[in-house]
């Protein structure tokens, strides 16, 4: 489905419990993702700090901090995780202003369509794994280059 060997981990943050339950139920039925839900952005930050994370969906308007602020913090912790904002209609303008600050992958409007959301998440994950693969490849190339350089150094040493 996503080209990854491991189970994708996605987090959903919204101060409304009903939104969390809906999304979790749908995703659990339709996908095999590991879905983590948080009704507090602060708790989300605390618990996601030492966890693996592939994608995060966050509400915009929340009591402790807004979605953009949360996603900025998450970006620091998990730079490759795809960031999606789930906004109420009236918040759209504010949210759009902040999109550039945080490098948002997509914003989704409430009320959302389940299929649209699933496809957005799926694409977001694919992107995330492509990025990861790319990163891995780069690292591999770097490693190979390094070993080549090492070999070269040894050869030079051997022939000198």
């Amino acid at each position: 489905m996503n080209g990854a060997e491991r189970t994708p981990v996605i987090a959903i943050v919204d101060d409304e419990e009903m939104v969390l339950t809906s999304l979790r139920s749908f995703l659990m039925l339709e996908t095999d993702y590991e879905v983590l839900t948080f009704n507090s952005p602060k708790r989300a930050l605390a618990e996601l700090a030492d966890k693996n994370l592939d994608l995060i969906v966050s509400d915009y308007l929340m009591p402790e901090m807004n979605g953009i602020e949360l996603l900025l913090e998450i970006k620091k912790l998990h730079p490759f995780a795809t960031r999606i904002l789930l906004t109420g209609y009236a918040d759209k303008e504010n949210a759009i202003k902040a999109i550039n600050e945080v490098g948002l992958y997509q914003y989704v409007e409430k009320p959302w369509d389940n299929d649209d959301l699933r496809i957005t998440i799926q694409n977001g994950l694919e992107r995330r794994f492509l990025m990861e693969k790319l990163e891995n490849k780069i690292q591999e190339v770097q490693r190979v280059q390094q070993s080549l350089q090492d070999i070269q150094a040894q050869i030079i040493k051997a022939f000198m």
């Binding site: 039925l29 209609y89 009236a90 409430k110 009320p111 389940n114």
Partner: protein, 597 residues
């Protein structure tokens, strides 16, 4: 000798004196009497009396004082003659005490030494010093009409009883003459006054701006007219005098006896009539009054030319009507713009309310909508597990389970439909509040129409034929999503107006500096009573749950925001045509270019 008898001599002498005096008296009377025939002029009569009195009584001066009718003491009309001033009569002012005494006592008065007479101590008469006087009343028909006075007897002896007798005779003879002359003079004065008053009246009548006709009350025949009456009737004076009023004035009422009865009863009659006897059409106010001049009873008809006044009044009336119309129009304009303002304010308030509600509904509706979808998906999973190929046999034939699953399916399907409808309504509300402030851009309306048509396809299905009559129209500057919203509403409404099968005709064309999009349906049409209200927010005839009643009011607002509008024509049973008007941008309409934004 008897001839020399002294007593006889004295007797004879006495007789001679008596005869001589009688001759004198007779000659005085004769002179005065001849004056009656010679003149009726009061001044001349008085002159004569004064002359005769001065001459016969041997005095320095004589005066005739005529009493005014009301017996006022002052002014006496006094005429005197100073002996030394020739014939001239001069006004002679006289002490009031003397005249007062004379008026009171009405008998002769004889004073020879006025200085020592205590009755008249303060007698002082201008520049003429009076030493002695003799005064007798002038009587006519038993009434005192004046005094005859003589002053300052010449010689030493002063006034005698003889003088008084003589003056009384002169007075009694001249009284009637004086009175006659006075009456004659009075008559002349009166007749002169009368003549003047007649002249005044004539001038007044002739120069009056009203036409005046006088007719005898008995015969209704005209006895007098003025110049204006000649102009009014177009007849010269000779052809007016002697005719009846009805003959010369074009007023049918004047031929009826009741009209004159009315004048006699109320004393006045007013009416209005027109005539063109003068050559042009003129209107008159007539006032007929019954008047009496002495024994004559006359009908006085006064006609006032009111043509100009009525023209002015007509002019004023027209002007007033114009003003009234203007005020009415202005008031209507004001009402319209007020209604528009109120409407705009209502829409704005509604917009704020709706925005708030829509925002608050996002989360719960999003949740329910999502859950309904998830539930449907879960059910299909469950059905696959219980009824699919790999399902356990005991579950496959369980009727109760199948029943429950089918029930859950129904509920889930209905939930989903209900949610979709709520989502769509919230979407409408959101669009109504128009929280999206997308930029204005140049857009091709045909593209918008086509994409909207694909969206409403499920409403049209196979029952409605869509006929496109796209004209050559330039792009317009607009918010395309809003304009599409208008198309969507108009198309859905058109589809819903067609009960079975029908046609929707979409026509685009350019008219002046406007682009027009007409969406016409062959549906049921809108009754005239509803036609005015279709753009009111909340007005719907679709029944509860079908329409929000917001569609057309949103369309109207969007069109207005684009400086355009929506016109509607409809006929019950034939269909409705909604026409969206949008302005062509100045730069485009000027160049006629076809740029796209």
């Amino acid at each position: 000798m008897p001839d020399s008898d002294p007593s006889r001599v004295s007797e004879l002498e006495e007789e001679t004196r008596r005869l001589r005096r009688a001759v004198e008296e007779l000659s005085i009377l004769n002179a005065i009497g001849s004056a009656i025939g010679s003149t009726m002029d009061l001044n001349e009569v008085v002159e004569l009396i004064v002359q005769e009195s001065v001459k016969n009584l041997n005095v320095e001066q004589a005066a005739v004082m005529l009493l005014q009718q009301d017996e006022a003491i002052d002014p006496f009309r006094t005429m005197a003659r100073k002996a030394h001033t020739g014939n001239e009569l001069v006004p002679f002012r006289f002490g009031q005490q003397l005249t007062g005494w004379m008026l009171k006592n009405r008998k002769p008065l004889l004073i020879n030494d006025i200085q020592s007479d205590d009755r008249f101590q303060s007698v002082a008469v201008s520049d003429f010093p009076i030493r002695s006087l003799l005064s007798v009343p002038l009587r006519a028909k038993g009434q005192m009409v004046g005094l005859l006075n003589v002053f300052n007897k010449r010689g030493e002896e002063g006034f005698t009883r003889e003088d008084q007798r003589l003056l009384s005779i002169i007075a009694s003879q001249s009284s009637q003459i004086v009175e006659n002359a006075r009456l004659y003079e009075e008559l002349q004065r009166r007749s002169k006054e009368l003549e003047e008053s007649e002249q005044k009246y004539r001038a007044l009548m002739q120069e009056a701006s009203e036409a005046i006709l006088l007719a005898a009350d008995s015969t209704k025949r005209i006895v007098e007219v003025n110049e204006r009456a000649e102009t009014l009737t177009g007849r010269p004076r000779e052809r007016l005098i002697g005719r009846t009023l009805a003959q010369v004035l074009p007023i049918p009422e004047l031929e009826e006896p009741e009209t004159y009865d009315k004048i006699a009863e109320s004393g006045n009659l007013r009416l209005t009539f027109s005539t063109d006897a003068d050559g042009e059409h003129r209107r008159f106010d007539l006032s007929a009054t019954r008047v009496s001049y002495g024994a004559h009873r006359l009908i006085q008809v006064i006609c006032l030319d009111v043509t100009e006044r009525e023209k002015l009044a007509d002019h004023l009336r027209v002007h007033a009507q114009e003003l009234e119309r203007e005020v009415e129009a202005a008031t209507k304009d004001l009402r319209t713009s007020q209604a528009k303002l109120v409407q705009q304010e209502k829409m704005a308030a509604l917009g704020r309310l709706v925005a708030g509600v829509a925002h608050e509904m996002n989360t719960p509706i999003g949740t329910i909508n999502s859950n309904a979808d998830t539930l449907a998906r879960s059910l299909s999973v469950l059905r696959e597990m219980t009824a699919g190929e790999n399902a356990p046999e005991q579950l496959k034939d369980n009727k109760r389970l199948a029943q429950v699953l089918s029930l859950l399916d129904d509920i889930s399907r209905i939930n989903k439909l209900a949610c979709e409808r709520i989502v769509s309504i919230v979407g409408s509300l959101r669009n109504f509040a128009r929280l999206d402030q997308a930029e204005l851009q140049m857009a091709d309306l045909h593209e918008g129409l086509d994409s909207t048509l694909t969206l409403v396809y499920h409403e049209l299905k196979n029952r409605i034929e869509v006929v496109k009559e796209y004209g050559d129209i330039p792009p317009v500057r607009c918010h395309p999503n809003q304009i599409n919203q208008v198309f969507m509403n108009l198309l859905v409404n058109a589809a819903q107006a067609i009960p079975e099968r029908g046609e929707i005709r979409i026509k685009t064309f350019r008219e002046g500096d406007m682009v027009k999009v007409q969406i016409a349906d062959s549906g049921v049409g809108i009754p005239p009573a509803n036609l005015e209200r279709i753009f009111d927010p909340g007005f719907t005839t679709k029944g509860v749950g079908v329409g929000t009643g917001l569609g057309l009011s949103i369309c109207f607002k969007i069109a207005e925001d684009h400086k355009g509008g929506i016109d509607v024509e409809s006929e019950v049973g034939k269909g409705s045509a909604f026409t969206l008007r949008l302005p062509i941008p100045k730069d485009v309409s000027a160049e006629g270019s076809n740029e796209r934004g």
